[in-house]
């Protein structure tokens, strides 16, 4: 079995092959002998060592991520976002917010309610200037421009509920 997994901006090729009681695993060419056991639908117990169950104990919790075909994998006290790569998926991923060039797409970091819109299309804004205030969990969070520019779109109105990731405004 072979999987292309995108982690931290880089795609890894993972090849699994049954070997005795365990698995012979290569990740981008590096080899590991792993014994794997399912604890429940999300919990795996890995023993990385001789493939027969002796070695480093790595409990892993694997749950669906927020995006399609994404997994959040918790190992060793950290959570790693894994995108299961496939051709369709790669196309869908273009144009994410937060690029250093091009238009700034200001998105809601969490679901909430727009309590105040501080700018209108056509406004010129400075870096760090507040654009939209979203309330969630009793806190007001002012979302700001990262760089100076001109507001081209305000996509929400005061009082509107927004989902996480929803575009609030675009600054060019």
């Amino acid at each position: 079995m072979q999987y292309a997994l995108r982690i931290g901006g880089r795609t890894r090729q993972v090849v699994l092959r049954r070997a005795g009681q365990g698995w012979h695993v290569t990740v981008d060419g590096s080899s590991f002998d792993v014994h794997a056991a399912v604890v429940d639908g999300a919990r795996l117990s890995l023993v990385v060592g001789d493939g027969a169950g002796a070695g480093r104990s790595v409990p892993a919790v694997v749950v669906p991520g927020r995006e399609a075909d994404a997994l959040d994998v918790a190992v060793n006290g950290t959570t790693v976002a894994v995108q299961v790569a496939s051709p369709e998926r790669s196309r869908r991923r273009g144009g994410a917010a937060g690029d250093d060039t091009g238009p700034q797409r200001i998105t809601a970091p969490m679901p909430g309610k727009v309590v105040r819109v501080l700018v209108a299309p056509g406004d010129t804004v400075a870096a760090k200037q507040g654009l939209v205030v979203v309330e969630a969990m009793k806190m007001e969070n002012e979302l700001r421009a990262t760089r100076p520019g001109r507001v081209t779109t305000v996509a929400v109105a005061e009082g509107q509920s927004v989902d996480a990731g929803a575009v609030l405004a675009v600054v060019e």
Partner: protein, 506 residues
């Protein structure tokens, strides 16, 4: 006054905490819930449950009329307000008294007096406790910006802008210079108005590197006030505490004596009863200043419980019943080892600690010696967007601070919360930070840390972790685990499907 059945006018972990105290004492409990809290832990744990309205707090947990009606309907004879929501609302305390209910907290008069931060500062001064220089009268919504600016200049920058009826860091802004004032004033007034129904604010000189130290008190109806060993609460983000400990490394036995007796004097002077906390700033030169009094149980009360062995919530109930405090005052001021608390929030520490609500797909709390987890969450339930995103408080206790920190590290490593982001990665970082370990910090610790790190994530997988994650993900897929919740194999999914079915049946 009788306390045989307690209505808990709250939700989340504090509602669970109060239910446990009541149950330890053989007292019946009544939970209330908003729509999204129907299956919440406090609802399932209580003896009785009553709906009080839609999700927004103003339409449910802040509705005094609905709460009093539930008390009547259920036959409750007492009300515990928890913290937040109506815990420091004198109208609610008065409404309970008027309805013949025992309010488990101080009198409405004291809540009102100490609830006004400006009146509280006056009370502290009258009791001989120093206060931070600042305005002595509230600045209402009608005070023009120019007037506020004039007062600000007379106090001097940097300063703090705070809600008169504030609490929990809401309606609070740092103002470093005149250019920040208008924006901060607008934000603070708006937050204060929506959170407390009172948009008045006041100004206070900002100490440069203060620690936030506080004194827990219990006061009975017979004139006894017991202060406890101080809590160190300087580790804050957005003016909300995230790590608390007791005792403080910055407080000597002599300072403890002076600080706690000053705090007790303030409580005695205003006729305080029940549990309350005097919050102070401790300056680098060792001087301390009254900041405000919280006229309720604090989030961080377990830290004091661990180092004193006293159950503060049970004592709240006993005091409300009219019992006399029988705690040895000397013992209360002698720390029994060391305790530290980490507040586990559904927040993303790598995205400015913004809330990260969602469904908890896997949850396993740490256990074992010296570890306590006060949680309001259960696996499979969603963290709603309407309320404070704290899901649990993890407390570690051990002989001394280094051992308590080591135990907390172990407990954090055991803690499994998956499906949402939490502050756990931040704590794992902080508990390894040299400044934190040496006790070199003040209230700006996190802000400085965030600035210094320049966006470097706390939850930063090492190359080795990424490789292990790749292996785990591949094996998960190979062994039949999917990626999509809708067709996945997690138990929460069956619950969702079932819930959908329930909805369809309605």
């Amino acid at each position: 006054m009788p306390v045989t059945k307690v209505l808990i006018a709250n939700r989340g972990e504090i509602a669970v905490r109060v239910i446990r105290a009541c149950r330890d004492m053989g007292i019946a409990t009544v939970a209330v819930y908003s729509e999204c809290d129907r299956t919440a832990r406090h609802v399932r744990m209580a003896d009785e449950a009553y709906p009080i309205g839609p999700n927004p707090p103003r339409e449910s947990y802040l509705r005094i009329d609905a709460l009093i009606a539930v008390a009547r309907a259920s036959g409750a004879d007492a009300v515990h307000p928890g913290y937040g929501f109506l815990a420091e609302n004198e109208d609610f305390a008065a409404a309970c008294r008027d309805a013949g209910l025992t309010f488990i907290g101080p009198s409405p008069e004291v809540i009102e007096q100490m609830g006004s931060k400006t009146a509280a500062r006056q009370a502290a001064m009258a009791a001989g406790m120093p206060v931070v220089p600042g305005t002595t009268t509230p600045l209402g919504a009608d005070v023009p910006d120019a007037e506020v600016r004039r007062i600000a200049e007379s106090i001097g920058y940097p300063l703090m802008l705070k809600a008169v009826s504030g609490g929990g860091g809401k309606g609070m802004r740092v103002v470093n210079g005149p250019e920040d004032l208008s924006g901060a004033l607008r934000a603070a007034r708006s937050e204060a108005g929506s959170a407390f129904g009172d948009s008045a604010v006041y100004l206070e000189r900002r100490l440069l590197r203060p620690r936030h130290i506080e004194v827990q008190l219990l006061a009975d109806h017979h004139g006894t006030v017991i202060p406890f060993v101080e809590r160190e609460c300087s580790i804050q983000r957005r003016h909300q505490k995230v790590i608390e400990e007791s005792p403080s490394l910055a407080v000597s036995p002599d300072l403890r004596r002076r600080l706690t007796s000053a705090a007790a004097s303030v409580a005695a002077r205003v006729g305080y009863t029940n549990a309350g906390t005097i919050e102070c700033l401790l300056d680098e030169d060792g001087s301390f200043y009254f900041l405000e009094m919280n006229t309720r149980l604090q989030v961080e009360h377990p830290v004091t419980e661990m180092v004193s062995g006293v159950d503060l919530v049970q004592w709240q109930i006993r005091i409300a019943r009219g019992e006399r405090l029988t705690i040895d005052p000397e013992a209360a001021l002698t720390p029994r080892a060391h305790a530290i608390e980490c507040r586990i929030y559904a927040e993303d520490p790598d995205n400015q600690f913004l809330p990260s609500p969602g469904r908890i797909l896997r949850l396993q709390a740490p256990q074992g010696p010296g570890v306590r987890d006060d949680s309001g969450a259960t696996e499979g339930l969603a963290v709603p967007i309407f309320y404070d995103p704290m899901i649990s408080k993890l407390i570690a206790w051990a002989d001394d601070r280094p051992q308590a920190i080591a135990r907390m590290r172990r407990a954090l490593r055991e803690y499994e919360v998956h499906g949402i982001k939490t502050t756990i990665p931040f704590f794992r970082w902080a508990l390894d930070d040299a400044d934190f370990l040496a006790g070199r910090f003040d209230t700006a610790f996190i802000d400085r840390t965030l600035a210094e790190r320049g966006g470097a994530p706390f939850d930063q997988p090492a190359a080795d972790d990424e490789t292990l994650a790749a292996i785990a993900a591949a094996l998960h897929l190979a062994l039949g685990g999917g990626t999509a919740p809708a067709v996945g194999v997690t138990p929460a999914v069956s619950a969702w499907r079932q819930q959908a079915r329930v909805e369809a049946l309605r």
